[in-house]
Amino acid sequence: MRKIVAFHSYKGGTGKTLFSISLATTYANRGKKVCLFDLDFRAPSLHAAFKTDGTEYWLNDYLNGVCEVEKVMTELSQSRARKGELLVGLANPSTEAIREMSAKDRKWEMKALGRLLSLKTTLLNDMEFDYVILDTSPGLQYSSINAIVSADVALVVTGIDASDREGTKRMVHELYDLFEKKAGVIVNKVIADLISSEGAKRKMRKQLETIYGLPVVEMIPCFCEILRAGGTYVFTEEMPEHPFTKTMDKIATKIDRF
């Protein structure tokens, strides 16, 4: 079933962009038609991973009503692994654009929500995309809540520190529950010792599921290789045998069952 998946988090730097890129490429490598959008207008980041030459229209333009969504989407050059199609829509990284997006009023945000909600019909029904992946900004900001409302599935990426856990818990109950979203939690950068055995993993999963009231999709240890890659290339495509790539494959299958 076709769906829009949004990656969200309470705090920044949890790995939303890494997961968005990895999930999009995993589906594209399975032969699916995928679109990946950068909805983090305050700190755009997808442009760094996908160096598209001469982007003419940004997602900012689509939300401003300047152009249709087709104009924003850039098809990426084929990699060896990719059997399907992968298109990206980028947020404008210029300081001027970031400042402009931060100063939008409520009426503009209402129109932006309408345009995001209409993507479901345009992209999934008319353009026949199998998946649309949204990389959002952290916390309870207009752009991220708009994205959550527009998505079919919301995945919260969280760490294990107390402040992130508290904030995520509150956010889940005060936002996701109200919009009746299908949601799941990905716990990232877990200290390997905490999930070294199946028993420890099960115990931790149960604890976290009780706290959040949501299924824990996966608990992922901290990988130095990912940090070393520094977001300069698509990790799951360059490292197909790495445990992180295998985990992303499992996550992709689990999302299908949501």
Binding site: E109, L178, F179
Partner: protein
């Protein structure tokens, strides 16, 4: 004393004017503040842009009469507009 009261009345009038100038905007923050039953209807209208009670009911899988009631409530609250076209009543967000 009278001067003070005059100033207070003026300030009150000013406050009233300011609150009148703020439109009833159906953005996500408003959606979060709505009761659950109205939120579902409001999100559906945001998605459809404009729709009849029948069309909203088809999406929410609730009875047409129920949706009609909720839509009219949102009109009274100032979030939606209603317009008759022939025999059908259309609800929409004024943009």
């Amino acid at each position: 004393m009278n001067e003070k009261i005059d100033v207070m009345i003026e300030l009150q009038k000013h406050d009233q004017k300011e609150s009148e100038a703020v439109p009833d905007v159906l953005d996500v923050m408003t959606l979060l503040s709505l009761p659950d039953h109205l939120r579902k209807t409001a999100v559906t209208i945001s998605r459809l842009d404009q729709a009849t009670a029948d069309e909203v009911a088809e999406q929410t899988r609730r009875a047409r009469a129920v949706e009609s009631g909720y839509l009219n409530q949102l009109v009274i609250m100032g979030y939606l507009k209603k317009e008759r076209r022939g025999r059908k009543a259309y609800f929409f967000i004024e943009k």
